[in-house]
Symmetry: C2
Subunit: 228 residues, 2 copies
């Protein structure tokens, strides 16, 4: 992998000189010093995409939550924990020619995480007030100035995958949405394969089930074509 990273850096890939932001992994949103809310995400698809873009010559900034997958070589890695931190790191990585948002960002966070461990109390259950997290994909998709030429969102769905992806593309204002079905039966979440629907302005394409590395290479190729 290091060999490929060095080769890519020396080679004249189609993304040579292009800056690409990739977000990856879950976010962890603290409840108190010992508890948090998390999204299931191994970070494998995001890592594979960062590697594939790097292999085509791109300068990749890889903003990752606490993911299990080993960090990609030959890219700039920025480690974050929460959605708020991920937003800050993503904005700091701009300007970029393209941005690929694979991270499974928590939609909500606890409004006031406790400084102290919340104890069980006799009258029972904790009251958690949630507030909405920043929508990083929508924010960067809708930038008036300095928007990356190509913004790609990911969607983890458990039903109506294509219809939800088409709606998501419009709602967020991004260029493409790559949607996958993460229902427990599929083995996709945390697994090594993916089956995606790619929604662009031209419509929806269903890719057959393949390794996450292959999804990444095809997508990186498409990014290179789009940036021209």
């Amino acid at each position: 992998d290091l060999f490929r990273a060095i080769t890519a850096a020396l080679a004249d890939g189609p993304l040579k000189g292009r800056r690409v932001l990739v977000t990856s992994g879950p976010t962890h949103e603290p409840i108190d010093p010992v508890r948090y809310i998390a999204n299931r995400s191994s970070g494998r698809q995001g890592t594979a995409i960062a590697e594939a873009l790097r292999d085509l010559g791109a300068e990749v900034t890889f903003v990752t939550g606490p993911a299990d997958a080993a960090r990609p070589q030959g890219v700039r890695v920025v480690e974050v924990e929460t959605a708020m931190q991920m937003r800050e790191a993503a904005l700091a990585a701009l300007p970029a020619d393209a941005a690929v948002f694979t991270a499974a960002v928590a939609d909500w966070r606890v409004a006031q995480p406790s400084d102290q461990k919340i104890k069980k109390s006799p009258d029972g259950l904790p009251m958690l007030d949630f507030v909405e997290n920043p929508d990083i994909l929508a924010e960067i998709s809708q930038m008036k100035q300095g928007r990356p030429a190509l913004v790609v969102g990911f969607a983890a769905e458990t039903q109506e995958v294509e219809a939800n992806a088409i709606r998501k593309r419009t709602r967020k204002g991004c260029d493409w949405v790559v949607a996958n079905d993460v229902s427990p039966g599929t083995g996709i979440m945390g697994g090594t394969e993916n089956a995606v629907v790619v929604v662009t302005e031209a419509g929806a394409e269903t890719w057959e089930r393949m390794g996450k590395g292959e999804v990444a290479r095809r997508l990186a190729q498409r990014v290179a074509e789009a940036l021209g």
Copy 2:
């Protein structure tokens, strides 16, 4: 480590022929197919204790949540995710001569995890109903029949460590409580060292800060003395 496991199996340690249950790691409580609530726990202290007990000749059943630490060799490993599953696996591991509960079990779970990914809705925030999880330590400490001769609980505290541990011992009905201060500043949570207060019927002992392996060896030695 494998070498030590084999050596221990062949040796006549003080815990030869003794069955010990060790729980370890966090639990993950699902919100929906992609979100969950977790406790911070690397599983390092629990793993070290299982290894130390094994090295003294015990037959260890190691019930672990989804922890980062590599699983111990030479013990029976049972992998679980939720508190409900951990309870079931712990009860299934009885009878045992001793039980050491190092796991960071979630106090609460979501009452009705959603089968489908919860979508952001215009009127905003998710309503999560929590229910209390079974208290595995209290349940096994208070068994009328088949209670392990020695039951050891762990307490992760962020304030009044000793006072909370003394109260916890009485409330749960266990024999010992090993309490540590997991405040963010200490570096203990997720780290390699621990500073514990051991509360027994005789009172509270403060152990100086030391490696988690050393805490484990001292504790295993004490378990061996207690079982006689």
